[in-house]
Symmetry: C2
Subunit: 632 residues, 2 copies
Amino acid sequence: MQFYLDGFRGGDPDIKNASPRRRDMSEHAPLPEKVDVLIAGTGPAGLCLAAQLSQFPEIETMIVERDPRNINKGKADGINIRTMEMFQAFGIAETIKRESYWVNQTSFWMPDPKKPENIKRIGRVQDVADDSSEMPHILINQARLHQLFLNVMANSPARLAPDYSWSVKDVQIDTSIDDYPVTVTLEDTGVDWGQTRKVRAKYVVGCDGARSNVRRAIGGKLNGDTAHQAWGVMDILANTDFPDVRQKCLITSAREGNILILPREGGYLFRMYVELEKLREDERVAERGFDEADMIAAANRIMNPYTVDVKEVVWWSIYEIGHRITDRFDDVPESEAVTRTPRVFTAGDACHTHSPKAGQGMNVSMQDAFNLGWKLAHVLQGRCSPSLLHSYSAERWVEAKRLVETDHAWARIMSAPPGQSELDDGDEPRFVRAFKENLEFTGGLAVKYDQSKLIGAPTHQALAAGQVIGKRFHSAPVVRVSDAKQMQLGHVALADGRWRIFAFAGRDHEPIYQLAEWMEQNENSPVMKNIRPEECADALIDLRVVFQETFDQLTYEEMPSQLKPKKGKLGLQDHEKVFCVDHKGQGDIYEMRAINRVDGCTIIVRPDQYVANVLPLADWDSLARFFEEIYG
Amino acid sequence: MQFYLDGFRGGDPDIKNASPRRRDMSEHAPLPEKVDVLIAGTGPAGLCLAAQLSQFPEIETMIVERDPRNINKGKADGINIRTMEMFQAFGIAETIKRESYWVNQTSFWMPDPKKPENIKRIGRVQDVADDSSEMPHILINQARLHQLFLNVMANSPARLAPDYSWSVKDVQIDTSIDDYPVTVTLEDTGVDWGQTRKVRAKYVVGCDGARSNVRRAIGGKLNGDTAHQAWGVMDILANTDFPDVRQKCLITSAREGNILILPREGGYLFRMYVELEKLREDERVAERGFDEADMIAAANRIMNPYTVDVKEVVWWSIYEIGHRITDRFDDVPESEAVTRTPRVFTAGDACHTHSPKAGQGMNVSMQDAFNLGWKLAHVLQGRCSPSLLHSYSAERWVEAKRLVETDHAWARIMSAPPGQSELDDGDEPRFVRAFKENLEFTGGLAVKYDQSKLIGAPTHQALAAGQVIGKRFHSAPVVRVSDAKQMQLGHVALADGRWRIFAFAGRDHEPIYQLAEWMEQNENSPVMKNIRPEECADALIDLRVVFQETFDQLTYEEMPSQLKPKKGKLGLQDHEKVFCVDHKGQGDIYEMRAINRVDGCTIIVRPDQYVANVLPLADWDSLARFFEEIYG
């Protein structure tokens, strides 16, 4: 963590200095008449976006929620490794790691071939493959996750907090004006129930769930199927003789259906997804009157010979599996994409819904928001053309579509009764194989954005084969040269809307020094072209360099001043720009990520942590051109 | 972290449920007339003790401070690895690790033999030796550390907060009564300045610094010398061409004196200790009128050819080195030790003072408090005789004495001008050698309590040669069997006043199962003898077992129910009692700590994390006797 740049200030360093022009959020203060961004809904997508935008004090964000307060329990609980990497950038990963359940092993149970009425463990799989991420796959109460985002917002310069008890009733876009063209009708769901208020916004983002009014207002519809399969979910405190109750388990019984066990935070709580009976084609879940007693009974039947003695049902719900998606995630039909730019977006369940059992819905929702956040910020800051915003729906729709399809296939496998072949000890059962094949996907690591203005062609991919253009930047261990601290290189990326350029030195150091000098001094460099007089040189593009030696083989004093840039009000040297290879057995980043040792390379990483391009160190033209296409 | 034992409750799990009988701490609420423990002073010792006692809702603790609020900056800044291990038990280590500067390397600079007016790096030493602790040596603003302890107190069942603007003026002990025998006169240092109030207490702990009124009241005097050497200290934001400014540095110039550089949290701030001129025998520091400008000038002379361009002096102070200690840390002279037990204690600077440059003072102060805390708690809970309290002064005085002596020697070495031999490149200079030799000591790991009721004879030490009886329990990597989580075994020890028994299995598992059964069921076991009807079985003694297999070689279902004890209101199974050897290359705890693989052993660890005894697994008698001597 870096702080005190503009002088010492005591206290919690996560609390940023408040912006003097922030909105008055005290009780009975009026709602604003105009905001830059209005977000509907305080689920994971809405809160993630609000947390991101709150980092920019010049952007006024409003986030409304129909409920009177944060939820307390229930809903989703799985955070995949990709989302944990994002949380690291928001500064909340350590807290979550400390409080949450870590999914280390997934255990598979099937009917015992010798006694099919009993289940039997058929195998275990390490849930996070070695070196797929430095982060664990975790499970935690969604309400707690909300709270951590709320803390990030509260600690931000904007001191942002939700406006609770307001629901978005309608959204109107006046395409003829450019200034606050969106009018949002808010409905009071609190003490003045039913009263409405209008707020004008430059942009509106609907994170208001599967029944999104924002989606409806822009003519979006969720298309897809429901599987006509009722599942129950319950969070319980219970005792059992089932030995793997503290591991994630997929349990298939011979005749009684399936269970998914997800241990949870705190060491005692766990979640069970229990398959209930198939629905008829025309039947809705609510009509069947299933309740938690049915679930507990089903669990005991499925888990035979083990029993579950439930002491407290913390939360339960019954639902049908649905996999649905809208045609687009913004208000601009393809036919109008050249003539106007988006003003209204949807994210999360408002535009795509999933089975909860692959643990993807909440993760993808937050990744939607993380994709959109920096783009909105840069447009509102006037750094780039609003046409950048087309890329949100373009990038995220493809991913959501892929997700819905994979999720659909997985849900079918999960719900299928075990075939005879699966009971055979010799072969790996189909659902274990499918589970393993899906690990990259369920970890959130399969996302790969297509080539675009924001994602370069793979011309020079071979210079860093382990950092795939279009996929997320894959962190690895390094040592910070100035203080010899072992750390993860990826952890220098904060959720601050900045691009990172990681320049990996080849055998020779000179090209790195020249790149650094060009970046800082040449008027055509993306740094010089985009920086504003009041800003630090790294305000938009943060250059970090990595050497292939170990720290004791390097002489920090010989590094040029551009690698110790002077920043902030006091013009203080930043000593956290230079890294090298770990000297204590944590692994060599060059080897781990297949970086070309002879020539090195430049890796451009987007503010949302995706690899935008890999270039030769000396290819300044391509570097300049890449940013020019986005920022002009 | 374990939580939800008595049922689900949302929110921050660090916030414990409030005790219904906690003191009313609202504004203008009266001071209590009687308390169990009154602590004078909110420095590191006082806050550590208060944080510890606040975990016991049945104990009423009051902590007073003459200042009106927590400090903001300045004072000490070094946290050694031993203290970090203790912070782990208080749940604040992760936060501190994230925010603080990590001392990875210490760098040594001396006059360049070829050009003695210039300094030159002569070497570096890895500051925390491999496997000396899983914790880093860190530097952080003392005020922030105070705040983290205040948070622990605020989140405790007692919701404890200091009574600011009250200073302890006098302490009177009435040895003729047993009920609240100590009367404390408090003086208002706030709005009603000078007014006094009396509070009666069962125990009083003076953590009120070198000029302690509590020490004075019990007739204690700090004895020792001052070195007549003025040192300046300043926390600064500054630029420099000195390359090691982000490493801890010991710098000796040929003629201008010495400097110690300590980089600090946030990446920009650093501390400098600057040697100023020698004082005359009869001279006091204040008379010389040194100020921060003198320090900056001296720093620039000493660090020649490098320069320091100071942008902001955050804090500075000038002091003399003093190494002093009182004769005893409680109110009972040795001659009366058999007839009465202590009622008043001193801790930290109130009973021993040090040079700040070995970074020990604050650490030892907190370790004083951690030693005393659980003893006070168990006496106040009525678990054991007040005679236990004699052990505080006995154990801590010896350590403080050793510290004062080592620190004294080190300060002399630090202040000595470099001899000609030290300029020779061939030999390791004396102060580098001394620094290395002192690493175990400065890390806080050299503390070894003498044999006593609380520390067993080393009869069976050979069963676990790497867990030295009398020294702190040395953590190592393990895997929790129920959920295959990789973790540090030492991290199961919380600051909750509980003893831990780590039972390491030999080749055969049976002795472990028998021990667990005996502990839970036999009326002579220390668990059964000491447990109260309303308590969980592990309320005083927490049994954890370790197997030498890896998790996938063990069958958790075969472990007896005693290793999955049912606890709390709901009688929920605790699945965090069984551990095994790490399977992913983090090291084998049996090998790392020289545990006997054939026979295994039992290691008794005190609530303050010190190894009290090592016993054969089957030696139940000795185990029973050990606890009997303390708890009867």
